[in-house]
């Protein structure tokens, strides 16, 4: 127990780094993923193809491999950035593929009849998007997006293996120096992760029930 209390500042630093990694890459992935999702549902074939190619490639690449690329390979092309930025890039690129799929299936889950009815009463494209399609799509997209954020939070731990001082990294360093208190050290790390993932999971379940009733 002392291991956690004595190193509270280290834990706190790791926790805030983890949280900032998750929030920053989450926000960026949301933007990139939405753009890619728009690509995938657009009527223009090359954009659809590019979106599909991105999703298929990234989803079949382990996150560790993406990290390896941004941390070790990118400097070879002359892109030298701090480890934190490399981690943000890797997490964003990886998470965007999942956001893209959530957005796409959200749009596709709206019944074609809804859009046809909107058009038939004379709504323009913008109007039917704003009043009919997007509000319904949002409902179905939010629960998977929360789940993606949970996965992202857990994925930030990979950054710890690539020189970013977040929770996992703190845990590993502390268990090296306090080898007689390893169970406590790791328990502390686990608790901090659960502090984010459990409430988010509860939120996702709640949002899902809301969305289910709306149907």
């Amino acid at each position: 127990m002392d291991a956690i209390i004595d190193n509270a500042d280290l834990y706190w630093e790791g926790f805030t780094t983890t949280l900032s990694l998750a929030v920053v890459s989450g926000a960026l992935a949301l933007v990139l993923g939405t753009v890619l999702g728009a690509f995938r549902v657009s009527p223009i074939p090359p954009l659809r193809l590019a979106g599909a190619w991105y999703v298929e490639t990234v989803r079949n690449t382990p996150l560790t491999v993406v990290f390896f690329f941004t941390v070790f390979v990118m400097p070879q092309v002359g892109i030298q950035v701090p480890f934190y930025s490399s981690a943000v890039v890797a997490l964003t690129v990886y998470t965007a593929a999942f956001v893209c799929e959530a957005v796409r299936s959200g749009v596709n889950s709206v019944g074609v009849g809804q859009a046809e009815a909107a058009r038939s009463i004379g709504l323009t494209f913008g109007q039917s998007l704003r009043h009919i399609i997007l509000p319904q799509a949002f409902r179905t997209v939010i629960p998977p997006l929360i789940n993606i954020f949970i996965a992202l939070t857990k994925n930030t731990s990979v950054a710890g293996g690539f020189f970013v001082a977040e929770l996992f990294n703190v845990g590993r360093r502390l268990s090296n120096s306090l080898s007689d208190q390893v169970p406590w050290v790791l328990l502390g790390v686990a608790l901090f992760y659960l502090l984010i993932t459990i409430p988010a999971g509860v939120l996702a379940g709640w949002a899902e029930r809301k969305a289910a009733f709306a149907r």
Binding site: P43, F98, P144, S157, P183
Partner: protein
């Protein structure tokens, strides 16, 4: 191709789409060309960065051993996780409230932790080799996830299945074992196979705890041959990863298709959106190795049959 967003395009829109197609293709080709020029101007495609793949056959051998280590850990983890998942699902559906709630807590805890942390815990706390540390991490996490997938499958079965089983005198456990679980496994096979892709990808986390798998072999090759070969070795390893995972992803799509075909004689779909085109969004939803959404997909309402 009618879509939610747009109708069958008319002549004017078709022209617009054509313009967009050309413009989009040009922009994408430009981006690709820029990247390739950048890479080649730094000599990444020069022959002296790739010659080890021709001159040194032991490079392939080394990468092959790495791939084998990856697949071994993944296969062992998958089998153990599958077995443990069934146990967790059964306990989670127990009629004893204490057992049920304890299992729920355990599942939630392990689902909420990073796999690499579980691997590290295995490596530091248990007297096992790194291989087993990786396998233990993979097993615990994926058993929790797959257990929840199985439970979602059981919950999605028609109530009549349980009632009929009780009516012919089967016990709760017998009902689970003989009636519900086999159907749930079948129902959820696509999600379970998708989870295998996640498991296979997560094997590369072994790199972080020091297990000598494919990615770790890349690093070792770099240490041996120097930074000059980093790009080419990494490129080959990434291609191997993507190919293997892509094949397993295809397997998930294939099982989905086979299952939906054999099931197509079944009852009406409750989803309001897809009366005629039953699998319109159900079909694409579970495709591929979508890690974080796997459980939410399986719980998503309306895409499964309910009589």
């Amino acid at each position: 191709m009618s879509s939610v967003l747009y109708d069958e395009p008319g002549p004017r829109t078709r022209r617009l789409i054509q313009v967009g197609t050309v413009a989009g293709a040009l922009v994408l080709a430009g981006v690709a060309a820029f990247v390739l020029v950048q890479f080649s101007s730094r000599g990444l495609f020069d022959a002296d960065r790739w010659d080890i793949f021709v001159e040194r056959t032991d490079v392939w051998e080394f990468l092959g051993r790495g791939l084998l280590a990856t697949l071994q850990a993944a296969a062992t983890g998958a089998v153990l996780a599958g077995v443990l998942a069934v146990v967790l699902a059964v306990l989670r559906m127990s009629r004893n409230g204490f057992v049920r709630r304890t299992t729920a807590v355990v599942i939630e805890l392990f689902r909420g932790l990073p796999v690499v942390l579980l691997m590290l815990a295995g490596a530091l706390l248990l007297p096992v080799s790194l291989f087993w540390a990786v396998v233990i991490g993979l097993t615990i996490y994926n058993a929790a996830v797959m257990g929840e997938i199985l439970r979602a499958g059981i919950l999605s079965l028609p109530k009549g299945q349980t009632e009929a089983a009780y009516a012919i005198g089967l016990t709760h456990f017998q009902t689970l074992r003989m009636i519900l679980l086999p159907q749930a496994v079948r129902q959820m096979l696509p999600s379970l196979v998708s989870q295998l892709v996640v498991l296979l990808k997560d094997t590369s986390l072994g790199y972080i705890v020091g297990y000598l798998e494919l990615l770790r072999s890349v690093q070792n090759l770099r240490d041996f041959f120097g930074n000059r070969y980093l790009f080419s070795v990494f490129f080959v390893a990434a291609a191997i990863y993507i190919t293997v995972n892509f094949l397993v992803s295809r397997l998930a799509v294939l099982t989905e298709r086979v299952l939906s075909r054999s099931r197509s004689g079944g009852g009406g779909d409750v989803a309001p959106v897809n009366l005629d085109e039953g699998t319109r969004d159900g079909g694409v939803d579970t495709r591929g190795g979508s890690a974080p959404t796997a459980t939410s997909q399986s719980r998503s309402p309306g895409t499964r049959e309910r009589q």
